[in-house]
């Protein structure tokens, strides 16, 4: 804790003199407390979809350092399924959903195998829903969310981070690793 005490002393004590305690209280938002210095990462949420093809080696290395459990989640877009249903009928929607599910399972199997080869335990979840809303809600139960720049698709030439990934970085109130 020497670093923080010296930082607080250096930056405020000399400057504010006898108002030191008051300033500390008023500007608490900008000072680190001992409790928030280094939070343990014990659980990681890793959203996957058709746009996330690979997990970089550096990310596996990071997960390994934390020794955390990784939950893979594949959400098939409920709106897309409904749209297929409206345009092509219920059978086509069912077939589309099944194909999405099959792809999701195979992708999660591949990634969880890669994780387990590196001694990282993995859990899998698959459901249909809304990627942005569901990940935001799920994230509350995890210490870290790993988001691909491609998650949710829609990257253009000038927009190198997908809109879904970009919004998740801002909206999840957790540590994020962007890859």
């Amino acid at each position: 804790m020497g670093y923080y005490s010296s930082l607080i002393n250096r930056k405020f004590k000399d400057v504010v003199g006898n108002r030191y305690e008051g300033v500390l209280k008023e500007y608490r938002e900008f000072l680190l407390t001992e409790e928030e210095v280094v939070k343990d990462v014990k659980s990681i949420l890793l959203p996957l979809d058709i746009f996330v093809k690979e997990i970089p080696e550096e990310l596996y290395e990071l997960f390994g350092i934390y020794g955390a459990e990784v939950t893979l989640v594949y959400i098939s877009d409920r709106d897309a399924i409904a749209m297929v249903g409206e345009i092509l009928g219920e059978d086509a929607a069912r077939e589309y959903a099944e194909k999405k599910e099959k792809y999701g399972h195979s992708l999660m199997d591949k990634i969880s195998e890669e994780l387990e080869q590196r001694g990282i335990s993995a859990k899998k979840r698959l459901f249909s829903g809304h990627k942005l809303d569901n990940i935001e809600i799920l994230a509350k139960d995890y210490d870290l969310v790993a988001i691909s720049l491609n998650y949710g698709g829609g990257r253009g030439d000038d927009n190198e981070i997908s809109p879904v990934a970009q919004r998740l970085v801002h909206q999840v109130n957790k540590a994020v690793v962007l890859y």
């Binding site: 900008f30 928030e36 280094v38 550096e58 540590a175 994020v176 890859y179």
Partner: protein, 151 residues
């Protein structure tokens, strides 16, 4: 594992540095931490301009600019020195770089010139709702390694 920590003097970047320390310690071996800070000329200029506007002393803007620049340099050097001391205490191989220029492009240049594995940064912009999405988004599109953003 080689980690690049972005320091900007905020609480969130200090948190990032402490987190990097923990990661390097856990990883052990030949882990290395580089503390990187950019003295942004544009930020210095805008601060000087704001000060001159507020104080009606625009004839001394160059003086303000030099003073702000030297204060910022001093602050960041002290902060980096404190953090290096902390890293040394934990026996982490640590070095620092303070450069002048445009923040995002200097970071990208550094990442692409060194064999880094991870960028660790604070989520100041995100948390304070200021400059939302600027720095990490500008960096992310031009680097190939993951960016850990700590809130």
């Amino acid at each position: 594992m080689k980690l690049l920590v972005l320091l900007d003097g905020s609480k969130w970047s200090q948190k990032a540095a402490m987190h990097a320390l923990m990661l390097a310690k856990e990883k052990g071996g030949d882990s290395e931490v580089v503390l990187f800070s950019v003295l942004d000329k544009a930020e210095v200029r805008s601060s000087a301009f704001y000060l001159c506007k507020q104080s009606n002393m625009c004839d001394r803007i160059a003086e303000h600019e030099a003073k702000i620049s030297s204060d910022m340099k001093k602050n960041i050097s002290e902060e980096v020195a404190d953090m290096i001391m902390n890293m040394n205490r934990a026996e982490i191989n640590c070095s620092s770089k303070i450069v002048e220029g445009e923040r995002a492009s200097e970071i990208i240049k550094e990442v692409n010139s060194g064999s880094y594995d991870l960028i660790v940064m604070g989520a100041f912009g995100k948390k304070s709702n200021v400059n939302i999405g600027t720095l990490y988004a500008e960096i992310a599109k031009d680097v190939k390694i993951p960016i850990l953003i700590l809130d």
